[in-house]
């Protein structure tokens, strides 16, 4: 049976954009920018192809991947130094100390600024406030605090922790606390940003029910909103601990004796087997935290 054109039009499945073409402009832009980037950097293949000496070094370095050093070579023991594995554990310990103390600071910073930088605590019906001062505070003071907080968060976050560390080195000199604070500032900013989004995007069901039952603003926030956002917030904070471990490790390149310090030192000594010892120590730390945070996420989701 031949169908009339009209019939065919009505029977046709509604046309959806072809899956890739809808996002094609984004893909094209990415590829174009990629080409520009390679041209702007004057990257040539000749630069990546290593020389014979370079190749030998690369081969030697990776040949130690499966046999990292477990002790110093005889005759090469640094003066007054503990055994290699103890040294690796000590530097892992300092890496962990910096990361954990910095994270504990940034969770506090992130919690306070994340609260102030969320809209949940002040937006909504301002006429609900009982007094004129309360209404004024909600209409003008609260948005001002909110906006200021967003600016502060952005400034903290936009400077890399290594740059903060370099700034503190220039301003104060080497001190363990300045390493901790250098990590805590940008991490606090990042946590604040993510926390505020999580608070604002948390389901409002419990909060609305509490408000309807006559709970105060503080009660609604602490008992209705916060418990809904807390699982996501703690899972994210643990993920950031993993990042803090990496940041703490590379602070070693600036003089603090974390894992990066020894990676740099042993690489300069061309003791590649020992470089791998420290790399694997870092890997172990990161994997442990990753395992912990993924376990936490699984249990929160379930």
């Amino acid at each position: 049976m031949a169908r009339s054109p009209v019939m065919r039009a009505t029977l046709a499945i509604p046309r959806r954009p072809p899956p890739i073409r809808a996002r094609g402009s984004v893909l094209l832009a990415i590829l174009g920018l990629g080409v520009w980037a390679f041209l702007a950097l004057d990257l040539t293949w000749a630069q990546v192809i290593p020389t014979a000496a370079g190749l030998r070094q690369i081969g030697e370095f990776f040949s130690y991947a499966l046999r990292p050093a477990l002790s110093y070579q005889p005759g090469e023991v640094p003066d007054g130094s503990p055994s290699l594995l103890v040294q690796a554990l000590l530097s892992a310990r300092l890496t962990l100390i910096f990361a954990v103390t910095a994270m504990s600071l940034s969770v506090v910073i992130g919690g306070v600024l994340g609260f102030l930088g969320s809209t949940a605590w002040w937006s909504g019906d301002a006429s609900g406030s009982r007094t004129a001062i309360g209404r004024y505070a909600r209409r003008t003071v609260a948005p001002a605090i909110y906006a200021t907080t967003r600016v502060v968060i952005t400034l903290m976050r936009s400077v890399h922790e290594l740059i903060w560390a370099v700034l503190f080195l220039a301003a104060l000199g080497l001190n363990d606390l300045s390493a901790v604070i250098a990590i805590a500032i940008p991490f606090g900013g990042t946590l604040a940003k993510i926390f505020s989004e999580m608070i604002d995007e948390a389901p409002r069901d419990a909060a609305d029910a509490l408000r309807g039952a006559g709970a105060s603003g503080a009660q609604v926030f602490c008992l209705g909103l916060l418990p809904r956002a807390l699982p996501d917030m703690s899972a994210y904070a643990l993920y950031r601990l993993e990042c803090a471990l990496r940041s703490s490790a590379i602070l070693g390149f600036f003089g603090w004796e974390t894992l990066g310090y020894f990676v740099k030192q042993e690489w300069e000594n061309a003791d590649y087997d020992q470089v791998w010892t420290y790399l694997y120590t870092l890997l172990l730390l990161v994997v442990l935290v990753e395992w912990w945070s993924s376990g936490l996420r699984r249990r929160f989701v379930a």
């Binding site: 899956p19 920018l33 980037a37 950097l41 630069q47 890399h160 370099v166 690489w267």
Partner: protein
């Protein structure tokens, strides 16, 4: 006890509990207490007269040279910043790249790296996805292939996941340091270092996305005779592309941030200029590059946010 109190107690007793979560809470508290105790931080030293003198000298030095010992003048300071942005510093002893040049190179590094990382992550996602890297992917029933074939697929899965885990556990900065030693100084070590770490992260995130795809369409394709590669190219990638792109832009943001510091290892870019200014004790120049870096990160965040919103709508 009243009936209501009994109900409340029953509800309280029946609340969801997890031993893992409880141990985690105690563990976190113990870890934080230990770290602050074991760190033996010298707070007094931070506020000592020596540190204060250092800080005062620093605060004097961050002022542009034309303003030393003079009251602050925005006009002069902005003039100086504009000169830094267009021409940098050309001295007999050392040179600092112009702010514009530093921004351009750093941005190019981040883009070159994330494009590489995106491609590698995309390719690695499939052998790292449990649904794809198995001998009888998307076939009904199970265990059709020989034991050797199944073992080979499992080995591929574990190998890819292990490799991704390894490259993302080592921070970009350490990768860049090692690669400079191997490849010599050019932009390549920075680009490859950023690409390695981010390929590890993107590969993992993309693999999770692929695993979470609804298997029905993929099984239907397999039943119609499509190969694993065809399913990946014509079904999995199109349906997961939005997710891939969201992750891509999210990682690009961190790439820009990291690119601002990799130069400290000697590759001419923002970090190089910043570190060079620090070593020469030119703290005003250093502060200029710090602000340039912050600006670049902000622009990156903004572009990424716009792109991600556009993708969510599409």
């Amino acid at each position: 006890m009243t009936a209501r109190a009994t109900t409340v107690h029953a509800l309280h007793a029946a609340r969801p509990r997890s031993r893992f979560l409880r141990f985690s809470a105690v563990g976190v508290a113990a870890l934080v207490t230990w770290a602050w105790w074991a760190g033996r931080f010298d707070v007094a030293d931070l506020f000592s007269a020596r540190r204060e003198a250092n800080l005062m000298r620093f605060l004097e030095d961050v002022r542009p040279p034309a303003l030393y010992g003079k009251p602050w003048d925005w006009g002069v300071a902005l003039d100086w910043a504009a000169t830094m942005f267009t021409s940098g510093h050309q001295g007999a002893a050392f040179e600092l790249p112009s702010g514009w040049e530093a921004l351009r190179i750093t941005l190019a590094m981040s883009i070159a790296a994330i494009v590489l990382a995106g491609l590698v992550g995309l390719v690695a996602a499939f052998p790292a996805a449990r649904t794809f890297a198995t001998a009888d992917a998307f076939l009904p029933g199970s265990e059709r292939s020989s034991v050797a074939r199944r073992r080979a697929w499992t080995a591929l899965l574990i190998g890819t996941r292990g490799a991704l885990l390894f490259v993302r556990s080592i921070p970009e900065y350490i990768w860049a340091y090692l690669l400079i030693g191997m490849l010599g100084i050019s932009a390549w070590p920075a680009v490859v270092a950023l690409a390695l770490h981010n390929a590890g992260t993107l590969g993992k995130l993309d693999a999770e996305t692929v695993e979470n795809l609804s298997p029905r369409a993929l099984r239907a394709l397999r039943g119609a005779g499509a190969s694993r590669e065809q399913i990946a190219a014509f079904a999995a990638i199109p349906s997961a592309l939005s997710r891939f792109l969201l992750y891509f832009f999210y990682r690009w943001e961190t790439c820009v941030r990291e690119a601002t510091v990799l130069g400290m290892l000697g590759i001419v870019s923002l970090g190089y200029a910043l570190n060079e200014a620090r070593i020469r004790g030119r703290y005003h120049d250093m502060l200029f590059y710090v602000l340039m870096g912050a600006l670049l990160v902000l622009i990156g965040d903004l572009v990424s946010a716009i792109a991600r919103r556009a993708i969510r709508k599409a």
